[in-house]
């Protein structure tokens, strides 16, 4: 790892001031020489790999005093960005009213990593593409813009089939973001200019021709909270992977249903493991609304969710697997006892 300067930000103002140096220049925030440090589970790992090369880390963990609340209120959930994954997953109100959130967190990483990683850092977790993580490969458009993509003709079994471009097929590795995007979450961003909010669905940017730009965040921005309107007790997260535990998704689905007298009044479907960004399957949702729920409907929704998939040499299996995961998740959600 390269040498670093470490600074501890004892409050928001100090953090903003320390991160202001990051705002100089107009590169992607991930390329900035000044990086915020929270759980560190992505950042320290990528610094050891020499993929990320900041010269200064600004430790924002003291901000947890005001940024780590888990507040279910009366059906308007607010989650502080510095809440730890393990704390949110274990919260009784989250488990009861937002099982898709609790499960997406519990099925991610390991207990140790969940004790360290924060929600804000988790949604910004960077791809596990082996060509991105291994700097001995020169051609990675995400790490080295304009250099090409080694994964296109390389070993791409773990790569995305949705939201890909000619420049990048790296899959988004997280789980929690799928729950957020399915439930129409809002993300709150704090910067030197103040606090702003936007739909979580607008946070991540598909790779397009600039895969090095992963979100709409500007250098110096910090995610401070997430908010969700309403409760979703009929929701779950289904994750398939090569191992039963402690592994990234091959295909996963965050689903939420509102079924009244057998008819779907609202449906939410988001996909993980198969897409370049947290992926909302709006076609699948639209197709289900107002219909009587049955296995055939779940199957049609699954087909719609993966209709736009484009596979490469080793990852075609993700198209069928993704469909089965979506259909099965919807069937399970429809029969949940709540």
């Amino acid at each position: 790892m390269r040498p670093i300067i470490y600074q501890k930000a004892n409050d928001t103002r100090a953090a903003m001031q320390a991160l202001a140096a990051a705002a100089i220049g107009n590169g992607a925030p991930t390329e900035s020489s000044v990086q915020p440090l929270a759980g560190g589970t992505t950042l320290i790992d990528l610094m050891k790999l020499d993929v990320m090369r900041p010269s200064t880390l600004v430790d924002i963990t003291p901000l947890a005093d005001s940024w780590s609340g888990i507040d279910p209120q009366n059906g308007n959930l607010r989650l502080g960005a510095l809440a730890r994954m393990s704390e949110v997953a274990a919260h009784p109100a989250i488990q009861r009213f937002y099982p898709v959130i609790a499960e997406s967190l519990k099925l991610a990483a390991s207990p140790q990593l969940r004790n360290m990683a924060t929600l804000g850092g988790n949604v910004l977790q960077r791809t596990r593409c082996t060509y991105f993580r291994d700097v001995s490969y020169a051609n990675c458009n995400k790490r080295n813009p304009g250099s090409g993509c080694a994964a296109m003709e390389g070993f791409n079994r773990m790569h995305a089939v949705l939201g890909t471009s000619d420049f990048c097929i790296a899959s988004y590795p997280g789980d929690f973001a799928q729950a957020l995007i399915a439930l129409d979450a809002e993300v709150e961003i704090t910067s030197k200019a103040g606090v702003r909010k936007m739909p979580f669905a607008e946070l991540h940017k598909p790779p397009g021709d600039t895969p090095q730009i992963e979100t709409v965040l500007e250098p110096g921005d910090l995610i401070s909270a997430f908010a969700i309107d309403g409760r979703w007790p009929r929701s779950l997260y289904l994750k398939t992977r090569d191992r039963q535990s402690y592994e990234f998704a091959l295909a996963s689905a965050a689903v939420a249903l509102d079924v009244r007298d057998g008819t779907v009044s609202d449906a939410r479907v988001a996909l993980g493991g198969v897409a370049t960004i947290p992926w909302r399957a709006r076609e699948a949702e639209a197709l289900m609304k107002g219909q009587r729920f049955d296995d055939a409907l779940a199957q049609r929704a699954a087909e719609a969710a993966l209709a736009g998939a484009a596979a490469r040499q080793h990852n075609a299996f993700k198209v069928d697997l993704g469909k089965r995961v979506v259909a099965h998740a919807l069937q399970r959600a429809a029969t949940m006892e709540i």
Binding site: P3, Y6, Q7, A20, L37, D45, Q112, L113, M116
Partner: protein, 210 residues
């Protein structure tokens, strides 16, 4: 360093020479505190240009003892323990947060010391495998790992034991399937997994008793 780095390992018989004491002593002897070291964690405001290559004076609280050291800001807790403080119980497996061999408790929560910066862990209570035994008596989880033959080569064992203690305290050790799920962050290349589950089950009631 005036104190023997292995002195906190009170359960170890001190008679004669052993390899572990030699290794730990050799690691500890390499520590010197340069006069150029700067104070840590003092900057709450704007960045001031400083030389990142200079060591920083830190104080870590490990197994109930304050342990000063001087190291690069990039030094992880794992490297601080092993390379600066002579506490080689915590093991370096992957060094990337994938294997769990470096698991320690920080304020009672299990974390990966290879992904935790030492400078950021100041002020927290760090517990390593060296801090588990009371006098000559092993911690119930250590004893259970011996009783159940829960290791072969032993390299992952310190991390397994710390993780297992936390697993019990979190309330995740009541069913075999929970133990398997909540111990999944600790990889055992010898595949002693069934015996590890048995060890966690054996020690759980005693740990829960307090």
């Amino acid at each position: 360093m005036t104190e023997s780095p292995s002195s906190s390992n009170s359960s170890r018989k001190s008679s004669g020479f052993d390899r572990r004491a030699f290794m730990a002593g050799a690691a500890g002897a390499a520590v010197a505190v340069p006069l150029t070291a700067r104070a840590a964690g003092d900057a709450a405001g704007a960045p001031t240009p400083r030389d990142a290559s200079l060591p920083v004076n830190m104080m870590l609280r490990i197994n109930g003892e304050d342990r000063p050291l001087s190291a690069d800001a990039r030094t992880t807790v794992l490297d601080a323990l092993r390379e600066h403080l002579g506490l080689t119980g915590s093991k370096k497996g992957c060094d990337h947060g994938q294997c769990g061999a470096c698991t320690v408790l920080v304020d009672g929560r299990r974390v990966l010391s290879c992904l935790t910066l030492a400078i950021a862990a100041q002020g927290a209570e760090i517990t390593t495998v060296e801090g588990l035994s009371q006098g000559d008596g092993l911690h119930p989880m250590q004893q259970a790992f011996i009783d159940q033959d829960a290791f072969q080569c032993g390299y992952c064992t310190p991390g397994q034991i710390l993780s297992a203690i936390a697993c019990v305290k979190e309330g995740h050790a009541t069913r075999d399937e929970d133990i398997r799920e909540y111990m999944s962050g600790n990889i055992c290349r010898c595949a002693a997994y069934p015996n590890i589950v048995a060890a966690v089950k054996q020690a759980a009631p005693e740990i829960e008793k307090g």
